[in-house]
Symmetry: C2
Subunit: 375 residues, 2 copies
């Protein structure tokens, strides 16, 4: 009997949006959900209490490549896994290092066997194979972990995309082999999610989604989007893939995106999202609020003593946060990150409520007109 | 009837340590007290709720020079003063800019009339006079503000120290003249504290302390220490000055210091302290704990999963904080700053309890043997 189960509670009649509950060894995730990114085992600028209590995060991410380098597997294993290491007892997810195949393209070589990286810290050689990525993620110990894939760049010619997709599929078989031969190290089950690739080519995406669906995994992911293609292309591919991936399994769209991207992709049947945007934008002073978008560095906020957001950060005025961000004070990043993540979690929670209530589509139109305003 | 009053509750019989209560327009300060430093209107890495609720800060500082430059007086005045601007309704104190006469010695010229600075941000000329320092601090609106002084360097020859002290005294008269001609801008009273100078020369310190005492101010400060002289010299001068400054007024030793400095100077009759050490050290991984001092970057903490400090930061292990500080994660600075400031406030609160209980001296010996250990 698996610790994982996904219950589809409601599907919208006017869109493909769904409300679900994903049970994991570290608790329940109510979908659709946004997952804050903790690249180096910390969501930048936010402590774990605020993540749980103020932001109401239900699951957070860490990056395998980064935590493999620091603190390293030895530390994570001695800690009894990443949950204990960071003191976060709710669900976690790790990517596989596959995204760094894309983002660190200057310092890696792709081979059939796996990917050779140069550490961005000290230049030492690392060799990630599908088997090793599974072993590493077993040691990290997230509830959900990802298959080792190649995330091709955009634009990417058809042949490259096709070969890359087939490589990802062969790697997927090797991941599942290793996954099935091994068990979690910390007395709880871990789920391996495979990843659909195929760039922006519909026939490849179809083929990939069918292959991934055939694996009958606990959940499935869509990778290789939000890498430079247009929003229309992203939506088109997401729509196509969601129609092929099994209905009774959670669907995770990796690395997406803006609030608008998230609502549109919820409408296409996506259940899980992650993105660095809320925290990265926060540090640069780009604030998402329930009334619209703010560039807090603008002079116009200098004497605006109203709260940054009445709902999420009522304690701090726009003028104060502007001052902090301009002065590069740590507290500026803290407040802005708290605000942006609170906003993202609120947005998906509201989406969930409106899918349940049956007015998701009209709510989406209305809320997008508010939250995408430039204040 | 002044909003300020200082009640001396108990004086230790075996030392000159005192327990007092300083009433201010924004509430009560129980002395001896440590005041966290918020240079640019933010205590680095700590939010105002944690300052009040976890660290239990009773009063915090801001630097006049820095907040004058950013956000500037216009913003602070429109906010209704710095308390409103930062949303901190407990007492605050501002220095006068005098310390920047010392710390920015490359970019300033001292004249009888005042000090010409070059802004460290954009190089523009600023001219601070005693009158202007009072006006600026009226606009900032801290409960307690400081006279504009010259903090001479160390070492400093006798003649320089003597001339500088006389200049500080002439400036003090000009500060009090302006102070007495003006009122607070925000419907509460502000206290001006004069500052004893005189470098490490006892006759000058005696003369300065007598001059400062003659002003009959609400409280008095000792400046120009902790600038490079030995701890023994600091204690000797502090002892001398405390014996001259009025007993029934709070005594503030500016910019001091280590936990040991603070306990030793409490024993000499000091009531108020401030220092950037807890937050600055925190950011570099030097942690004060109730069991001793930790350099968290040391390899020995890599797999130490015990709390950073059971008492103050039980949620985070040494291993995790080491990882965060090594990776330069914002959360590392947040946790370490929370820890160090919690420790400093705990230390002065414990000192207060033990003065009240009558065993301060023996407690001081015992606790110093614990908290100065290198772990």
């Amino acid at each position: 009997m698996s610790s994982f189960s996904f219950n589809l509670i409601k599907t919208d009649t006017q869109s493909k949006a769904r409300v679900g509950v994903l049970n994991t060894p570290h608790g329940v995730i109510e979908t659709p959900i946004f997952m804050p990114v903790g690249t180096q085992a910390s969501v930048k600028g936010v402590n774990q209490q605020d993540l749980a209590n103020r932001i109401k995060a239900q699951i957070i991410l860490a990056n395998t490549y980064h935590v493999f380098l620091r603190p390293g597997l030895d530390v994570l294993q001695h800690a009894g896994g990443i949950h204990n290491f960071i003191n976060w007892q709710k669900p976690m997810l790790t990517d596989s290092g596959g995204f760094q195949v894309f983002s660190l393209s200057d310092i890696r070589k792709i081979k059939e066997e796996g990917v050779e990286f140069r550490s961005h810290l000290d230049g030492r050689k690392l060799f990630f194979t599908p088997e090793f990525a599974v072993d590493v993620q077993r040691t990290i110990g997230a509830d959900i972990f990802m298959a080792f894939d190649e995330c091709p760049p955009y634009p990417c010619d058809y042949n490259y995309a096709k070969n890359s997709m087939h490589l990802t599929h062969r790697w997927l078989d090797r991941c599942f082999n290793r996954y099935n031969q091994t068990e979690g190290l910390y007395e709880y089950e871990q789920a391996l999610f495979p990843i659909v690739q195929g760039s922006v080519y519909k026939d490849l995406r179809t083929q990939s989604a069918e292959y991934i669906a055939s694996k009958n995994a606990i959940g499935n992911a869509i990778g290789g989007l939000s890498v430079g293609e247009s929003h229309e292309q992203m939506y088109e591919i997401t729509d196509l893939v969601c129609q092929i991936l099994p209905e009774n399994k959670p669907r995770y769209l990796m690395g997406v995106g803006t609030p608008e991207n998230i609502l549109e992709c919820i409408a296409l049947g996506v259940d899980m999202f992650d993105c660095v945007m809320p925290t990265r934008n926060a540090r640069h002073g780009f604030i998402f609020t329930s009334e619209g978008v703010i560039n807090i560095k603008n002079q116009k906020w200098e004497k605006d003593f109203t709260p940054l957001d009445n709902q999420f950060t009522p304690e701090y005025s726009k003028a104060y946060v502007k001052h902090l961000i301009k002065c590069n004070e740590i507290l500026g990043a803290q407040i802005a990150s708290l605000q942006n993540l609170s906003f993202y979690l609120w947005l998906v929670t509201e989406a969930r409520k409106h899918i349940t209530a049956g007015d998701f589509t009209s709510w989406k139109t209305q809320i997008l007109s508010v939250i995408t305003r430039r204040l």
